[in-house]
């Protein structure tokens, strides 16, 4: 066994050579908004991941009725303050059914976040690749990709998504929803990236690289991609929340996840009818949705500020 070489002695004043990623991380963590957002996102992700555990802890499964928690003489409104908060139900219960709100919210988080994050990943990867290729190579590649983007984007996506979701019957609704949302999302980012690439490729530094003998792969990864990274990150910022919102919208319209499986959008849709008599029922899933979207947005903003070399110099 050889011993590991001790770190080379360095001048005591010199800080360890910091890579750009470490610098970025330090810069990110310096911001209060980032730290708070990270905590919020982490909490919701944990909540989503540990949903079965959490609801077991509370003692209620998300689909379990509790008739004792609602008052049948008051149209089934929850018994207790703030929408039926009690030792049994920490955040109260649903009107009429008496299902536990905590259990439903955490299971809803699982469904909503899984769909949103998976769809985002599909959209960002596909969109950036298509956009850069179309913008940079131009010609036939651009023609084909742009036609495909036009075609996909000309589909009235929400309308088509609703229609497809309502037509499909015996399929895994979560998988279908992820696929459908992802399918219509990519051209948005691809177009933004393409437009940016188009105006970047006539810039002097790209011409210089080309004259210097750099191949297309090198130019794409070294000169174009960093140039479009800002818009991509800014757009992803709008995409994660957008995806969460789309999932919620589909479920809100009743074509998303089927009851009794909860999702935030579906809970909000159900609670709208009670907004007058039991506002807490509306407030709880809405707040979760709002906080998650807000936290992802703030995170994305900070990421963009730190990682986008051009706006960083501004």
């Amino acid at each position: 066994m050889t011993t590991t070489t001790p770190p080379a002695p360095s001048a005591p004043s010199a800080a360890p050579a910091a890579g750009p990623w470490r610098l970025a991380r330090a810069e990110l963590l310096r911001r209060t908004s980032v730290r708070i957002s990270l905590v919020v996102v982490a909490l919701f992700l944990l909540m989503a991941a540990g949903a079965p555990l959490l609801s077991a802890l509370g003692g209620w499964s998300p689909e379990e009725f509790d008739k004792t928690a609602v008052d049948p003489y008051l149209g089934g409104s929850p018994i207790g303050p703030l929408g039926g908060v009690s030792a049994d139900h920490w955040l109260g219960v649903e009107p009429v059914t008496g299902r536990d709100l905590i259990a439903r919210v955490v299971h809803g988080a699982q469904v909503s976040l899984f769909i949103a994050l998976t769809a985002t990943a599909i959209v960002v990867v596909a969109g950036t690749a298509a956009g850069v290729a179309a913008g940079y190579f131009g010609g036939r590649t651009d023609a084909v990709l742009s036609r495909l983007m036009d075609l996909t984007m000309s589909f009235p996506s929400l309308i088509f998504m609703i229609a497809m979701m309502s037509v499909a019957r015996d399929v895994n609704r979560i998988a279908l929803m992820t696929a459908v949302i992802g399918l219509f999302g990519w051209p948005g980012i691809a177009r933004v990236v393409r437009g940016q690439t188009l105006s970047l490729k006539h810039r002097e530094y790209v011409d210089a690289a080309r004259v210097g003998g750099a191949g297309p792969w090198r130019i794409l990864t070294r000169d174009i991609l960093p140039g479009v990274a800002g818009p991509v990150i800014a757009y992803t910022t709008l995409i994660v929340p957008g995806m969460i919102a789309t999932e919620a919208a589909l479920s809100y319209l009743g074509v998303g996840v089927r009851p009794p499986t909860p999702s935030w959008g579906q809970m909000i849709a159900e609670s709208v009818a009670f907004y007058d008599t039991d506002p807490m029922y509306f407030v709880i899933p809405s707040t979760c949705l709002f906080l998650t979207v807000l936290a992802f947005t703030l995170l994305g903003d900070a990421l963009r500020d730190v990682l986008d070399p051009r706006s960083g110099r501004a």
């Binding site: 036609r147 036009d150 075609l151 984007m153 000309s154 589909f155 009235p156 996506s157 929400l158 309308i159 088509f160 609703i162 229609a163 497809m164 309502s166 037509v167 948005g188 177009r191 933004v192 437009g195 188009l198 105006s199 006539h202 800002g230 818009p231 800014a234 709008l238 929340p241 919102a245 919620a248 919208a249 809100y252 319209l253 074509v255 959008g265 909000i268 849709a269 709208v272 907004y275 007058d276 509306f282 809405s286 949705l289 709002f290 979207v293 807000l294 947005t297 703030l298 903003d301 963009r304 051009r310 706006s311 110099r313 501004a314």
Partner: protein, 328 residues
């Protein structure tokens, strides 16, 4: 440029045809028999056959599609003999539910959806762009921070959330506005606007927030460009630099998004219309979905697609006008 436009126009036709084909295939291969539904319970085999023929359901799929496309351009006669039904240009077929021409249904509802979309667009452009540009010009000041915090919060609220808050705050608690009820513009412009104000606001809050963020970041990027420095160095007044030089280039990304958003909304904001009970195309579509009214579903999808395609084309052409760096 002219060549480009011509090519794009051809592309538009192709895209619409492709969308029609995809939609047609997806929704006509449904496991349902609208003829049986239209015929009712005590239906003779003879009459069922006639209805199927009238609806064109006895034809192979490609034939139905070809007939449909022909009908759009020239009108067509559906079925024959006693049950023949003439459908005038532009023929999108008849609703299975109430036998009205789909085109007429769409045109009935269009003013509602268009009022909603255009009014909201005016609001959100005014609010969003002025907030975004102001924030960019005062980067890192208190104004900038306050505007962006507001924008981030507003962008995080889904439209039904905002709508419910507005309904609760402005209608239930404050009693400032009536519950929206669509009044045609021609009938009473004042009531038209006051009734639509709430849905406009609900839609505009979300979009304005997104536009403020987008326009701020692209303005900041533009203001850092060398040609802006050049313009400043020449001694141009700040106003000229901002309005004549920076705004033009800074607005290109916003323009892209605006085309998509407006096109998408013109043919119906399904959620907003259903929350506020506005009888627009979105509502028509939602109703058609639950009854499996395929001609209406296809009609709405096609109309929406047309709006989006045309808006996108307009934006692409404007691109070159707005930003001289973009060449075709």
């Amino acid at each position: 440029m002219i060549l480009y436009t011509a090519r794009r126009l051809l592309g538009v036709a192709g895209v619409l045809l492709a969308i029609a084909a995809v939609t047609f295939t997806v929704f006509y291969v449904l496991p349902s028999d609208p003829a049986a539904a239209a015929c009712g319970k005590s239906c003779s085999a003879d009459r069922l056959e006639a209805i199927r023929a009238q609806m064109g359901l006895d034809q192979p799929l490609w034939r139905q599609f070809a007939d449909f496309v022909t009908g759009v351009f020239t009108g067509r006669t559906m079925g024959s003999g006693q049950y023949a039904l003439h459908c005038d240009f532009p023929c999108l077929g008849y609703s299975y539910e109430n036998s009205e021409a789909v085109w007429d249904l769409l045109m009935d509802r269009l003013p509602v959806s268009a009022s909603l979309a255009l009014g909201a667009a005016v609001l959100w452009l005014l609010l969003g762009l002025s907030a975004g540009v102001t924030a960019a010009l005062r980067k890192d000041t208190l104004t900038d921070r306050a505007l962006m915090v507001g924008a981030v919060a507003a962008a995080s609220m889904p439209v039904y959330f905002t709508s419910m808050m507005l309904i609760y705050g402005l209608i239930r608690v404050a009693g400032l506005l009536p519950y929206p009820q669509y009044v045609p513009f021609a009938e009473d412009p004042g009531h038209w606007a006051s009734n639509l104000l709430l849905p406009w606001l609900a839609l505009a809050v979300l979009y304005a927030a997104m536009y403020a963020r987008q326009s701020r970041s692209s303005m900041i990027e533009t203001l850092a460009e060398p040609y802006i420095r050049t313009a400043r160095a020449k001694g141009l007044p700040r106003r000229t630099v901002v309005v004549k030089h920076a705004l033009r280039a800074g607005m290109t990304p916003v323009l892209t998004i605006f085309g998509m958003d407006l096109g998408g909304l013109l043919a119906g904001a399904v959620i907003t219309e259903s929350i506020f009970g506005l009888p627009g195309i979105g509502r028509l579509f939602y109703g058609a979905l639950s009854t499996g009214d395929q001609p209406v579903i296809l009609g709405v999808t096609l109309l929406a697609a047309t709006f989006i395609v045309v808006a996108n084309l307009a934006v692409d052409l404007l691109y070159a006008v707005v930003d001289p760096r973009v060449r075709f």
